[in-house]
Symmetry: C2
DNA sequence: TTGTACGCGTTATCAA
DNA sequence: TTGATAACGCGTACAA
């Protein structure tokens, strides 16, 4: 492997000059620059990343710590982050925590030992409060990690959109299936929904609302779906809003297994707009998260020190499909 | 940040001794080792990974190059690989190629510049033949990359299992929807299926088999599904075997949109056993890939030089569910 | 068994 | 604008 020295020798300049050509920023006389570039070409010289890292104490890497990459929404997030990072010349080091706070801490500290440019964390449901000192920026996305800045969709507003959608369709017996109350995202989505439904409730036009706590996954949705739908149709809700698409798909599954038809017997709405939402039957009404914009927002303060890391909230968009309205 | 020098000073030993304690392999007198360990503890010393990398010319990283992490099967693969890598103290650097051969080459060379322990590639459908020289082992998994060793499920045998399953259920008008013929996995799955069906065909008990080329994704399955199912029921196949679960789910979708019931009007089988296969309605009969074993097999030759990197084929298992048999 | 000193390849400083 | 050279922190050959 050719080193910077070899290049310098071949171009008959000093290593300093080669380094300056490489950096591109400093001024170098044209004829020297050309000689250097030719030498680089001829020797197929690649700067040694480890040496560069040792000297500058930084590496072209962004760490991404995520509960589980097989969760479709996290996969979409990871892809968007990786793509955005790549456009800044950064690689992504991936770590799954399997929703285990201990693994989370271990992975984070191990990642920090590599002096990455920044660290992006999707917190596991019960995040530790282990103290983590570091000079590199640590941000969280979707699920807040400790007291780090959080980039996420406007969960409250998204839930409000869903609430208004269901209410405007005439539903007056509504069930909300919440994410874990020990997660910020779970609470905010729930509270936004509940708040808006309460607001829409009048003496003349009352709305019955029941709320169930759950986890974000499919199985929980299916289980709670069965619980709810086992009741006689007069007391059963006519619409279910879920804190995630996965819950919603679980509910639809339960409905189908009980011979109920969606949306006629039961309207169902989700949150996130994971890819399978469009594959489910019927297709799922949901709030689409602006994943690419979220990725940009979380990478920006890492790559540009002039951008202060702070909470960012982006609007989601209501995607109306067959699980709440019949048509087409 | 404390350096090895600080530790040495505090423990009143030389840096050599500290290094030896760190390595753990060489002999160090117990009382010195204890002093060193105490100093490490007190100073919260962490070896500088960049310096270590420069010195040893290796980094605790395995590169993973994948077409698209949001593909559920690749996500499962990535998770298994990351978990297995972590158990060897390695991190995974992730790169999506978006199925673009040019991006693939670029990402691979960029990754190799970081001197990872090894590189695992799931090739994009039309892999380049760009020459890639490197000392680090490059393996492929699921989809072969150039002429690199491939770790994958026994695709031929899996297809044979599906063929036998459908045939034993009495289907004699069968359609196979193939993956891209320019991928090894697409061809092998198709050929295995076709071959076994031909073998099962006798003069007295003929089997009609039609084969359609496709891509691995949902949309292709849906489209071909509509093509096939638009035919009158007398000429239409009674069973469809698909080269991937995604195709199969697309076919089921087409069937449903046409008012056909699965499995009564049409049996459908997939391949891979992605998580949503169990969520589809009806649940999908498929071949389960042993992802964890695949991950182990691909990491082994990277972490243990005494294991030669070579093609590895592992058996998949037939998972029979509601998309081919009525019951429960 | 321990300590010393050199070199890994780069960037940054400083003098020319 | 260029060149010489000193770090960066660690591992290891070699001397003690």
């Amino acid at each position: 492997m050719a080193t910077i020295r070899d290049v310098a020798k071949r171009a008959e300049v000093s290593v300093g000059t080669v380094s300056r050509v490489l950096a591109g920023t400093k001024a170098v006389k044209t004829h020297l620059r050309e000689r250097v570039q030719a030498a680089i070409e001829e020797l197929d010289y690649k700067p040694n990343q480890s040496a560069r890292a040792l000297r500058t104490n930084r590496v072209d890497v962004i760490g991404l710590v995520i509960p589980d990459i097989t969760n479709p929404f996290f996969a979409q997030l990871a892809k968007a982050i990786e793509t955005e990072a790549a456009s800044h010349g950064q690689f992504v080091m991936l770590a799954n925590t399997h929703d285990d706070p201990e693994t989370e801490t271990r992975q984070i500290t191990a990642l920090l030992d590599r002096t990455p440019r920044g660290l992006i964390v999707v917190a596991s449901s019960d995040s530790t409060d282990a103290t983590i000192g570091s000079e590199v920026p640590i941000l969280s996305i979707d699920r807040r990690f400790q007291d780090r800045p959080l980039v996420c969709v406007d969960n409250w507003e998204g839930s409000v959109q869903i609430a208004e959608h269901l209410h405007s369709l005439g539903h007056r017996r509504i069930c909300y299936i919440s994410g874990p109350p020990n997660t910020e995202v779970g609470r905010v989505r729930r509270d936004g929904f509940v708040h808006r439904i309460r607001d829409l409730t009048t003496r003349n036009d009352p709305v019955e609302l029941e709320v169930h706590d759950s986890r974000f996954n499919f199985e929980s949705g299916e289980k709670i779906g069965h619980d709810i739908l086992s009741r006689p149709s007069e007391t059963r809700p006519t619409a279910v809003a879920a804190a995630s698409d996965q819950i919603a798909i679980g509910v639809m599954r339960a409905a189908r297994d009980r011979g109920l038809s969606v949306p006629m017997d039961l309207a169902v709405a989700g949150f996130d707009d994971i890819d399978v939402s469009a594959l489910a039957f019927p297709r799922l009404t949901t709030i689409r998260q602006p994943v690419n914009a979220l990725a940009k927002a979380v990478i920006a303060p890492i790559m540009d020190v002039s951008i202060e890391a702070q909470d960012v909230k982006l609007k989601g968009s209501l995607i109306v499909r067959g699980s709440t309205v019949t048509s087409r």
